[in-house]
């Protein structure tokens, strides 16, 4: 099905969608990624409307919700990736929200899977989704006690040092490496791939 349409006809179809979008939502920036992929940048008050509309015309598969931390601009960029099974085209709907007050609305009523994507974005960036009561429930990071780890101001090195103290090993890895390289003679023991 997907391959039955060529790029030219997809592009024609997309052109029509853009025009529709323009008439319905006013200005909306479309960034060409490739023949079947466009990024749409929309103001946050129009995002839900646009998602609803796109879903209704066939862009019904929510592949993922993700986020980018633009720390210098003090913004979070939320990105909804919508896929259309009938023509193989993808829209990346992107909107910018205030980094100091990172709250947006849930889309779990349109896409039940969004509940998990939103939890994921909350966990890694700290964005809250109003209407998703499970939003703050840990998804992967249990007992996390620091800044959300994909925020640019999170310091992974400091975190590792604090949470995982150095252990000491009872071997001299350089000595071993020199034996392996044949620089000096000696024996080494250790794990193998065949266990």
């Amino acid at each position: 099905m997907m391959n039955s349409m060529n790029d030219a006809s997809v592009s024609q179809e997309l052109q029509k969608v853009f025009e529709e979008l323009k008439s319905m939502f006013g200005s909306c920036e479309a960034v060409h990624i490739d023949a079947r992929q466009y990024k749409l940048i929309v103001p946050s008050d129009k995002t839900l409307g646009m998602l609803t509309y796109l879903k209704s015309i066939g862009y019904s598969h929510l592949s993922i919700i993700t986020c980018v931390d633009w720390i210098d601009e003090k913004k979070f960029e939320l990105v909804y990736i919508l896929f259309n099974w009938s023509n193989g085209a993808t829209f990346l709907v992107s909107t910018f929200i205030d980094r100091d007050r990172p709250v947006f609305y849930t889309v779990k009523d349109m896409w039940p899977t969004a509940e998990y994507y939103e939890r994921d974005v909350h966990e890694f960036f700290g964005v809250e989704f109003e209407g998703n009561e499970n939003c703050k429930k840990p998804l992967m990071l249990e007992l996390w006690d620091d800044l959300p780890p994909l925020r640019k101001d999170f310091d992974p090195l400091q975190y590792s040092k604090e949470h995982f103290p150095d252990r000491t090993y009872e071997k001299d890895p350089i000595h071993e490496a020199r034996i392996i390289r044949g620089d000096i003679e000696g024996d080494i023991e250790g794990g193998e791939i065949d266990g």
Binding site: S160, K171, I174, A177, G191
Partner: protein, 637 residues
């Protein structure tokens, strides 16, 4: 159908069902036993990882320079640099290699993306097990974690343009075009703007590889970082005080000079130069000095000194003498510098042309040295105006740094003519003339320069400027024994700039004789023969010529720029006999002490060949003199 029948029937059906199930099901199961499993039987069966897989690391030890950049970027602190015993010690590398703890590594690949040499890579290998935690800590080599033949290892994740973490291109300072710079002696390389300097500073990875190479071991990563933080006073402190915990090692009182004309050996080894252009360490240094007003220097840099009652005399105010004076003053000694010329600075004042080093830059450095308490007595030649023995009686120790003040001649027939002159005195005359302290030197319309080093470039380019200013055109021919630009000792940059300025360079010729116009006491040019070899098998200077190939270079004046020699005539025989010489140079110990305990020496008469070596000599001599005067005995080092 009765109720009972109905139930029976149902039971029967159920029975056949269970029968069928119990009969066939195991069979299906048995069949599956002989089929290939859907899962992969690790480790008997290996599934190839994706081409960009971030698997176990490998590191080419021949390529790796031990810069430690991988370990500094690692977000999980998984990499520790560990010293490799007996590793050959060379400039531009540290005898250490990275070790990785796979208990910490998150396989993010940043170490590979930043690796300054490209020695560190990731493979597509990912299967390894062991009960011993020690086995997960290793030093990656060419053979990887699994000790395989390098040819059998498939490389995985590789850095590409979008994952590059180094900034490989240098920010060039603005500079005048050759057509503009040839018209004057204005310093033609402009200083960095703040934006340029901060951006250039951001390219440094703080590895310190350059510090080992710098003869004075200046604290390069520290002052570059201060530029990046826009804290120029802190940067200046690093320049002028060095490492306070290590007796000010790395301090350079002539930072303004070095920020312009240092031979910048540090840049040759800069880690970034392996894959890109070296960080512009020299221009960054100049940026610091130029951008802190001299009134604020005292604020940024002060020494706790308690005055001693000991006095030290220094002979010669070149870089070595000024440096020794600065460090001795910082230790509380009373220092007098004797200088035969009218202005302090040695070659920095009278040799290096103004377009590379303007007086103001040198003056700023010297002003601070004097503010430290160093007294410079100019126009006093030791041996002529005051005897060496007089100094010995008046002072507790003496440091000599009299440089190479005598020119050397080719001694070819005709070279005794007054229009055959040596580079050094002529450079001196030009500088005096330009600062309005001397007459105009003789500027010939056509000049031949003999020599392939930086001094030859300096005199050729100075004369080209004077010709352009006086006659409107350049006519300078430079010739030297060395057969190619690469073989010539001058920096390639100097050669390129000289050519841009209209100087003709003819490498590979040896001077034979000066040619005169018939019946006239006027030079016509220089006759040369082909030089086929400059150095012999033992790498000794021993030029060989092919006399059958002859060339004539036209010129009214010939400049010899083939090297300088020391003048020790100020030293009384009594002391000269006690000093040990190696060729023309004086032998000292590490603390620059000669065979005579109270006599220390440095600069071109001991080491050379450049300013920064002179500064390092001054530093070590100051420490040596301090030790000598403290113990009043011999310095054993």
């Amino acid at each position: 159908m009765s109720e009972k029948n109905e139930r029976n029937e149902r039971n029967e059906k159920n029975e056949t069902k269970t029968l069928q199930k119990s009969f066939f099901a195991p069979l299906l199961g048995w069949k599956a036993l002989f089929e290939k499993p859907v899962t992969i039987r690790v480790p008997k069966e290996k599934r190839e990882a994706a081409p960009r897989y971030r698997g176990f690391h490998i590191n080419d030890w021949e390529k790796c320079i031990g810069c430690g950049t991988c370990s500094r970027i690692c977000p999980t602190d998984a990499i520790t640099m560990v010293e490799v015993p007996d590793m050959k010690q060379e400039y531009g590398m540290k005898p250490q290699r990275p070790t990785i703890d796979y208990g910490r590594c998150s396989f993010c690949g940043m170490c590979v993306d930043i690796c300054t040499t490209g020695s560190l890579q990731m493979t597509r290998e990912y299967i390894f097990f062991s009960h011993d935690a020690n086995d997960f800590y290793y030093a990656p080599t060419e053979r990887g974690l699994l000790d395989k033949e390098p040819s059998e290892i498939k490389v995985g994740w590789t850095r590409d343009e979008s994952s590059e973490l180094l900034d490989l291109d240098r920010i060039l300072p603005d500079a005048m075009e050759s057509s503009e710079r040839i018209d004057s002696f204005v310093e033609f390389v402009k200083a960095y703007s703040k934006e340029q300097a901060v951006a250039e500073a951001a390219r440094c990875v703080e590895c310190g590889i350059c510090v080992d190479r710098c003869p004075q071991h200046m604290r390069i990563p520290e002052y570059i970082k201060s530029i990046w933080k826009d804290d120029l006073k802190d940067a200046l402190k690093w320049l002028l005080k060095g490492d306070e915990e290590q007796s000010n090692l790395g301090a350079n009182p002539l930072s303004g000079v070095c920020g312009r004309v240092c031979t910048h050996r540090c840049e040759e080894v800069c880690t970034i130069s392996h894959r890109g252009e070296a960080v512009a360490i020299r221009w960054l240094k100049r940026y610091i000095v130029d951008n802190v007003p001299i009134e604020e220097w005292n604020d940024a840099v002060s020494f706790d000194t308690s005055k001693t009652d000991k006095k030290v005399a220094i002979v010669g105010s070149g870089p070595a003498g000024l440096s020794a004076g600065y460090f001795l003053a910082s230790m509380g000694y009373d220092v007098n510098v004797y200088e035969s010329m009218n202005r302090p600075g040695g070659v920095m004042r009278y040799g290096i042309p103004k377009y590379r080093l303007p007086d103001e830059a040198l003056d700023k450095d010297i002003a601070f040295i004097e503010a430290m308490g160093v007294k410079i007595l100019t126009g006093v030649a030791v041996g002529r105006d005051i005897s060496f023995d007089e100094l010995k009686n008046r002072y507790d120790a003496i440091f000599i740094s009299t440089g190479l003040t005598l020119g050397r001649s080719t001694r070819v027939p005709g070279s005794d003519h007054p229009d055959v002159v040596q580079a050094l005195p002529l450079l001196r005359e030009i500088r005096d003339y330009l600062r309005g302290e001397g007459p105009e030197p003789k500027i010939a319309k056509r000049v031949v320069v003999i020599g392939g080093g930086n001094v030859a470039m300096d005199i050729a380019r100075s004369l080209a400027r004077l010709q352009k200013m006086k006659y409107g055109e350049v006519n300078v021919t430079l010739t030297c024994l060395e057969r190619t630009y690469e073989e010539m000792p001058a920096d390639l940059e100097e050669i390129e700039e000289a050519i841009e300025e209209g100087i003709t360079i003819n490498p590979g010729w040896g001077p034979k004789e000066v040619i005169f116009f018939p019946d006239e006491d006027k030079i016509k040019g220089l006759k040369c023969v082909k030089c086929v070899e400059v150095f012999d098998e033992n790498k000794r200077f021993n030029p060989k010529y092919d006399e059958s190939q002859v060339s004539y270079f036209d010129g009214d004046m010939i400049i010899e720029a083939i090297g300088q020699a020391p003048d020790y005539s100020y030293l009384p025989e009594e002391w000269k006999a006690k000093i040990q010489f190696v060729g023309p140079r004086i032998l000292t110990n590490n603390l620059r002490q000669t065979q005579i305990p109270w006599l220390f020496a440095g600069g071109d008469i001991v080491n050379g060949p450049d300013i920064i070596h002179g500064i390092a000599d001054g530093y070590w001599a100051a420490r040596g003199i301090d030790e000598y005067l403290d113990s009043n005995g011999n310095v054993e080092k």
